[in-house]
Amino acid sequence: MKFWILVHTYARLKLKSEAVKTYLSYFWWLLEPALFVAGFYVVFAIILDMRTTDFIVFLVCGKIPYLWFSKCINGAAGSVFAGRELLTNGSVRPELFPMVDFTQNLYKQAVALAAMLAFVIMQGHFPTTTWFLLPLVVLTQLVFMVPLALIAAWVTAMVPDARMLINILVLMLLFLSGVFWDINELASPIKEYVMLYNPLAFLIDAYRQVLLHQTAPDWWHLGMIFLFSCLACLLLFRFYAWTRSRLTNKVLYS
């Protein structure tokens, strides 16, 4: 419990430190995702003329969850190395750094998510009872990303080259997860394969099912992602404890 209170306090203070460095301060939490969505809208809706009546709202519901994913994984990737000065203190565990970075992104995402819901309502998709299922989708995405963030942080600390690969993989997932195209338009069995092997594609689709189509996500699939992610979290925290001195030595002396 003490570890998680430290994670929360550290993340909160880092967010404050980050905010005072810029003129627009906390407003960037809203502005940054809004600018990303605006950029995508210009490319796909205006230049490529892929405009459907609901394209912008469809795009927002995919882009905001994807941005959360990309920031969590890319941010975690360099976090242990960035925190190496503090690792000289024996009471600091290396997993603290990816978890602090993750929590910072979680707090920012809460604001972006609220803005996303407001935007969806403004576009005429009023809340229905299925909206109550949204917290489960968000929670599953959160739990799904924790082990990936821990893996990205560990691998990058041990082999710095992995950071390049992680950046490329995260970018590839932008194209493979149906952010600006609808995964349901894929033919069978490709659609099923993408959904099965890319949980991010399933989760992005689940956001849209709940918010735009008033449909519950596939519970079995959502539950399996949640369960396997929880299991992976437990294993990875054990793995971090097991490799703690090896990881610290690597970061401090290479």
């Binding site: 209170i5 203070l13 404050k16 000065e85 009471s91």
Partner: protein, 247 residues
Amino acid sequence: MTTPLLRVDELTVSFSLGRWWRRDDSVFALDKVSFELQPGEIFGVMGRNGCGKTTLLRVLAGATQATSGRVEELAPKPLSKALLSIGFGFDRYLTGRENALLSAMLQGQSRGNAEAMLDSIKEFSELGRFFDQPVYRYSSGMRSKLGFATAMTLDVDLLLIDETLSVGDVGFRDKAKRSMQEQMKKSRAVVFVSHQASQVRQICNQAIWLEQGTVRAAGSTGEVAEQYEAFMQDQKRGAPTASSSQE
């Protein structure tokens, strides 16, 4: 005779100098270092830059593991430790108060305990209203005061200090020295590391001199400091050193 708090036995830390495809060249940061730390002792470690002082502190803090040898804790319960080094992880955009809170929590204190310590840290640090100002407005001496005040208020069994006293004004240095002596009375131990023999001489009772990762002298601070200072004088004059004559 009292039981030592800590026994360091043939501690060796080595690194490979080669890249991943060629790992044959090794350098010894510490080579079979042994000493004992008694309760209530301020133990000095002196030596030139790169002699292995910081590596020794990191191993004692539990941050890194030795290649061979061991650090044996002989106290009945596990020792709480704090490592204090210059500019210890301070975020320059956060206030002294926020940095002190975070620092205390990173050293293993609960949030409640850390918050309860803040008034004492403010008083000890002598920062006054600067305590609630961002750290980028601090001089290096003020940063050192904040770091030292946080570490001294932590109430740990073993305090590890890395060259920190070299900054700060004379008045604060005296206060820091008194505070370390207070720790001594509470049967806690301090390991103080410096490249300046004069600093070690001022506050430590026992000391070792590290040179190229090995213990070149150990015993009472006066004797060890004398040998270290003579060595440094030889170095300045360009006379052959003991290590080169051994080779």
